[in-house]
């Protein structure tokens, strides 16, 4: 919402420094996103070079048919000679003059110069040159009155500040200059002008506009007014400049008046060319199935039965509250105008605007809820302006409405405000604040003003009204807690441990999107913002591999990335969202397996590996653990030798054996030996270890493979696997004989099961 300060001041005499106004509004009412200074630059006395002038003489330029040569009195005693390209004035006209040296809004500095051989000592201004209107067809002819030489800024709004206000959705009353003025008056405890248009009484015509409302739920009120002998003309300068500053394009008087009233009061209006209506009647109804209409923007709209329409006796003539129809649009030849000042129910407008993806200044206000009592002053203000600006006669009217909602009466305990806010506000002060906002005090109740009736319906809503006035005085306290947990859960602690371990192992953490282009899943967005962000991912690795590839392309070295995030598995009503950790780093199978072993180890868990297949991985260098997959990436996926893993955290954490129980490995020392077995090539090391453990029992405390050898000494199709073992008992020192017996048990078992032969040194 653009709120021109000059317009605001018409309703409330606010003179505090701009910074104070914006700060107070931002804290207590609605955020001021910024202040736009518009119009003629003020620096270096620039404004003094803009004056009121009176044209003394005006005749054709001797050397140019399309130019006028004028002598203009600008209050200096001696008139100035000015060359002008416009012809919409003559001697005696009061005009706006910029003197040489003046800087225009665009930054152009005027110079005294010769035009076709004649000196031009200034410029007679058109409205667009000082950003007061869009026209450049002629110069501005001012109303007579001000003396030549009067500073122009006293006559025209050459400079203005525009507050860029962002009211929240619950405050549609602030989508109007008068509404903002009402708020400012309350904030600064200042008088507020009466509602514009509200005071006009005068004659009400006898004629009736025929209006039929089929659906009072959706349209609680419809005021129609008929104006005859309308002259469509450009609006006067003040109106055009106000609309421009408020961010709307001036078109012509009738449409400009409807827009002006909307910005001033917040009630969107519409005007129809009455002569284009069939049957001369307004019908407010829902659309019929298959009905169509062409809106003002030239688009053919297919309507649905939920859409609320303004129709005549035969067809739709407007999408209620959203946009008018092309066929009944006001045009240059319009002479009879039907003005609509209605009230529409928000949800109806919202749904249609949503479905058609059509948002307008009007729909934006309706869908937030417009005060149904506002239609009357809006109609009055528009009537006043239409009669004044178009020369029209108001000839007929009608005000069709259901029972308008009563003002909400809310039970209110002022002590409740103190309890919620945490700072005390005396009861009388509370009621004084509320009164400034238009609330009335009852016995243990307050009566809500009509313009806040949707937002304030409960005691807590009234409390908020007090709170927003006192936000700066709210102290800093902490809850007096009666229950405290304040610890990370086991899973949260282990998660941190995994993150820290990976960082220690040289992996850098990355975040990639949860949405993928193509994952196999039930959870695909029917309307993604980009195909890359379509499906909830079922694995972290594809995005991680892409991140690695980007780093390779960027020339990074020692690339090692991990991500800890959710994957989403199809699982009925809602997906099964699981935390995974995945990593990619250079190096072969052994290296990445070492990483996974380390992750198990930091969790105090033992990892078991078995051969596995996975489409992203090398077919011969991939293993599965209880929690996921580890191996070398298939070089088709990522060029070079890369290790990768992806583990499910819940499964991984299930392996964690904590707290660890102490084992006495000090009192009775271990007997350490190296054993090497020759086995057929297809025997896997893990099988040997498992069998050795089974054979030797708990006294085989450690067994680790430290070498695998193939060659002549062991023969074709065979390999030698060397183990380092430690035999130890918690009860006694093992003798050499004990160790020899254990070794024999192992050798026998391995020999029997795998044909393994113990090599002797």
């Amino acid at each position: 919402m653009r709120v021109p300060l000059s317009w605001l001041r018409e309703y409330v005499p606010i003179e505090v420094p701009l910074g104070e106004l914006t700060e107070r509004l931002s804290v207590a009412s609605a955020e001021v996103e910024g202040v736009e200074r518009i119009g003629v630059p003020e620096a270096d006395g620039n404004l003094e070079r803009f004056r009121v002038g009176r044209v003394l003489e005006a005749e054709k330029h001797p050397n140019a048919d399309r130019l006028q040569l004028c002598r203009v009195d600008v209050g200096e005693g001696e008139p100035r000679q000015i060359v002008c390209g416009a012809w919409n004035f003559g001697p005696g006209a009061t005009v706006a003059v910029a003197l040489p040296g003046a800087v225009l809004p665009g930054g152009l500095e005027l110079e005294r110069r010769e035009v076709r051989g004649e000196l031009s000592d200034g410029m007679i201004l058109a409205e667009d040159e000082v950003e007061l209107g869009p026209d450049h067809a002629g110069i501005m002819v001012l109303a007579d009155g001000p003396e030549p030489g009067t500073p122009l800024v006293e006559v025209l709004p050459l400079v203005d500040d525009v507050l860029l206000l962002e009211p929240t959705g619950n405050r549609p009353d602030l989508l109007a200059v008068y509404g903002v003025a009402r708020e400012v008056a309350a904030l600064f405890d200042m008088p507020l002008a009466d509602v514009p248009g509200g005071q006009s009484s005068g004659h009400v015509p006898e004629g009736q506009v025929e209006v039929e409302v089929d659906d009072f739920e959706a349209c609680p009120r419809y005021i129609g007014r008929l104006f005859e002998n309308v002259r469509i003309e450009p609006s006067p300068l003040w109106l055009k400049s106000r609309l421009l500053v408020a961010g709307m394009r001036p078109i012509a008087n009738v449409v400009d008046v409807t827009n002006y009233v909307m910005v001033a009061l917040g009630n969107p209006l519409h005007a129809f060319d009455f002569e284009t209506l069939h049957g001369g009647k307004i019908v407010v109804r829902r659309a019929r199935k298959g009905e169509e209409m062409r809106t003002l923007d030239g688009v053919e709209r297919r309507l649905e039965p939920e859409d609320l329409l303004i129709a005549d006796t035969e067809r739709a003539i407007a999408l209620a509250g959203i946009m008018g129809g092309e066929e009944t649009e006001i045009g240059a030849s319009t002479t009879t105008v039907l003005l609509e000042a209605a009230n529409f129910e928000p949800f109806t407008i919202f749904k249609t605007s949503e479905r058609l993806r059509l948002r307008t200044e009007g729909s934006n206000r309706w869908e937030k809820g417009v005060d149904p009592y506002l239609a009357a002053p809006a109609a009055a203000l528009a009537t006043e302006l239409l009669v004044e600006l178009t020369g029209a006669t108001w000839t007929a009217q009608s005000d069709v409405h259901a029972d308008l909602p009563e003002r909400p009466v809310v039970c209110y305990r002022p002590e409740r405000a103190d309890a919620v806010i945490g700072v005390a506000t005396p009861v009388d002060d509370q009621h004084a604040l509320l009164a400034r906002l238009g609330f009335e005090r009852g016995d243990d109740t307050v009566v809500v003003p009509t313009w806040r009736a949707r937002d304030v319906t409960r005691e807590i809503d009234v409390v908020e009204e007090i709170a927003r006035f006192r936000l700066e005085e709210v102290p800093f306290t902490l809850p007096v807690r009666r229950a405290m947990f304040g610890t990370l859960t086991r899973e949260q602690q282990l998660r941190r441990r995994i993150e820290d371990a990976l960082v220690g192992l040289g992996f850098s953490e990355t975040y990639t999107p949860s949405l993928r282009p193509d994952d196999e899943t039930d959870w695909k967005l029917p309307e993604p913002i980009a195909v890359e962000l379509t499906a909830l991912r079922t694995s972290l690795l594809p995005s991680l591999v892409e991140a690695v590839r980007r780093n390779v392309d960027a020339g990074a070295e020692q690339i090692a990335l991990f991500e800890l995030a959710r994957i989403y598995l199809s699982n009925g009503e809602l997906p099964n969202e699981r935390l995974h950790v995945a990593g990619v780093a250079p190096g072969g199978f052994a290296r990445v397996k070492g990483v996974v072993q380390a992750l198990y180890e930091v969790l105090k868990a033992g990892a078991q590996f078995e051969r596995a297949d996975h489409p992203l991985f090398h077919p011969g260098k991939t293993a599965r653990t209880s929690a996921g997959i580890v191996g070398e990436l298939n070089p088709r996926i990522l060029d070079g030798e890369w290790g990768a893993f992806e583990l499910d955290l819940e499964s991984l954490f299930a392996e964690s054996r904590e707290p660890v129980a102490y084992e006495d490995v000090i009192t009775y020392p271990a007997v350490r030996q190296d054993l090497a077995f020759v086995v057929p090539e297809q025997v896997e090391a893990g099988e040997l270890v498992a069998a050795a453990r089974e054979a030797a029992g708990p006294q085989l405390r450690e067994v680790e493979i430290f070498d695998v050898y193939r060659g002549e000494q062991v023969g074709e199709g065979k390999k030698s696997i060397a183990f380092s073992v430690a035999f130890q008992s918690p009860e006694r020192t093992l003798s050499d004989e004990d160790a020899a017996a254990l070794r024999r048990q192992i050798a026998d078992a391995l020999g029997e099961r795998f044909g393994a032969v113990l090599r002797t040194a």
Binding site: F350, R468, F476, R550
Partner: protein
Amino acid sequence: MTENEATVAAVDWEAYEREASAAVAAASGPTELEDARVGYLGRKSELAQALRGVRDRESGMLLNGIRERLEAAVTQRERTLEGEELDRRLREEIVDVTLPGERLPLGHLHPITQVRRIVEDAFLGLGYEIRDDREVETLEYNFDKLAFAPTHPARSPRDTFFFDESHVLRTETSPSQIHALEEHEPPIYMVSIGRVYRRDAITATRYPIFHQFEGLAVDEGITLADLKGTLLHVMRALYGPERRIRFRTHFFPFTEPSIEPDVSCGICDGAGCRTCKHTGWIEMGGAGVVDPQVFENVGVDPERWSGFAFGCGLERAAQLRHDIPDIRLLWEGDLRVLRQF
């Protein structure tokens, strides 16, 4: 007088010891020391010879005393010389300490994770539990139970990712409020942290996926002032002890009163700069007092219990802490970026 007695008597042992001590002390290297030791303590030394012939206790004590003292002096001198030798050697072993150290592999936690931990720790210290809930939500939890009006813009597929008419990617972490309230009786002190989704085009300031932390405190007698104090604590944990905060009125469906907290700009300390758009303040998210409607939606008595809730973005916090100009940098996994943190 035997020969030996004569030898003992013939020597001025006081002078011998003085002479020997001086020789040991003067030895400037291992060779000289060994010469002195052999000369005065060795097998052929006068002392050794005299000791061999000694018969009387008095002479024995005298000579053994001399021997022990000289041996101690030799050992002492030996240590001194070794120490000096080591010092000399170490003085020569000079490296250029400005040469790089060995590059050990060390990774980096993502800035969002770092900020996440700061937030978690700040709230753990205040006695809050940390939780996260599902990202695919039903309309019931994402909107209805949080008292979103039927016309709230977030219900539009223009703002929110819909899978079908009843499932969305959660638009904020606020559904956690409902989950927490349904799971436990108050009092509740919890912070929920996780990914949320909005239908925004990817730009320098917006990314359709981001992270929020959402706090909820429900107890007897909770006030807006408690919210102010709590947020001050967390903002100071994130941005430093000098930070101030202010509240601006706002509107959210599930809080009343609703506010937006601003933290004083850490770059200009409130004077106004580019980062804070010349306001001196930086928006941190949304907050407010839990709306009684939310309590009623989950069967909690709003007359007995009161609470506050707040939600802030982790990306924004990471960007502010580290002065990261473009949110996309947090999502690209570029090691040139990640290795800075």
